[in-house]
Symmetry: none
Subunit: 210 residues, 2 copies
Amino acid sequence: MPIRILLADDHQMVRQGLKALLEQEGFKVVGEAADGHQATRLAQELLPDVAILDLAMPLMNGIGAAKAISQISPQTKVVVLTMHTEAQYVLEALRAGIRGYVLKSRAAGELVQAIREVSRGSTFLSSDISDTVVDAYLNKVDVPSDTLSPRELQVLQLVAEGKTTKEVASLLNISVKTAESHRTRIMEKLDIHETASLVRYAIRRGLVQP
Amino acid sequence: MPIRILLADDHQMVRQGLKALLEQEGFKVVGEAADGHQATRLAQELLPDVAILDLAMPLMNGIGAAKAISQISPQTKVVVLTMHTEAQYVLEALRAGIRGYVLKSRAAGELVQAIREVSRGSTFLSSDISDTVVDAYLNKVDVPSDTLSPRELQVLQLVAEGKTTKEVASLLNISVKTAESHRTRIMEKLDIHETASLVRYAIRRGLVQP
DNA sequence: GGAATTTTAAGGGTTTTACCGGATTGACCC
DNA sequence: GGGTCAATCCGGTAAAACCCTTAAAATTCC
């Protein structure tokens, strides 16, 4: 029985390409998602063996999706697929329970290898990445752990993407006032007082792309 | 004889995926490049029928590469493949002599269609993109990448730093209404409609640090 | 089981943005 | 000397952002 895969990346064309490559290798891509929400929903529905998540996705990023998926489908192993090599991203991803971290700049073979490793219970990190992790561990690089709650991170991402409070509310199925509350608390916690600074913060945290 | 293609994208994995898709369609990918320089060199050497260029590449971006390739291999038709829908990218690309503009967020079929169109001398733009172009043409918004005036750049920077319009006005010794006018004009030129996107743009342009 | 935190929600207020107009001045170009 | 454009200024309106306070569920934590 082939390994069943959920593929999430916000660019359909990239997804199609990866799908073609993975199916050549005998994997079965059972679902595709363009954002973190969709990925989470599909993971719940399909219970795939492996979920491949891009980090930079709209609505909910890969980290958020990884956390959600680990909750609702614990048997699904998550592999992050990204362009980012920075320690901050890697460590955050590891804390979110991912089992593999693969760079888009590498050959597709690395992704294939990662899928095989994680689906038999092991882990896989692109080589530069393992260095980063060891380094961070040795130097006890304490990643600025976000005092922001998951929900707050979610709201922050949407705000930084340029969504209005009203849009945030409807995307998260909460009232406008609640969305406002989150926004207010975020600003309070971060001691930030304008959208612009909020956006820059979100970019530094890797929640959105510049 | 199959259409000969040069494929440039800084992520090897994405290239491999696209290559697989294109070869399924009967195209021949004769070369791959990870940056604009390499793409230019390979275009000179291989004289491909079509060059597919990502916009965001290190060393030399897609626009630079498109210009260079048009010079050294005029018979090569250039197709830009990117995630950016903003008017300024599109118009800059068109001025650089590209024949196709395809969004990564679309189905691979659009790329295939684009390749077919440009290689028989026509052009291809993803549908949203054609709207942008028509719009720009109708409004004579002749927007080169940096058509922001010095003053506008100044205002943009301050806004991206988190200054309110009132603060911008007092810092520049102009009236609030004037500062507002500048802001409005900037958004118009860039086809941007929220502060958040403005901030991200300013960061991409290097006007402010994240 | 109780405390703490998170998430949800609301009322009522001020300030700022976004978008719609229009108008004047000066510089530069052909 | 007329055209174009940058920079300045102004008025109005509707929407959104921002600020403060309060508070009930739901959670997670100890």
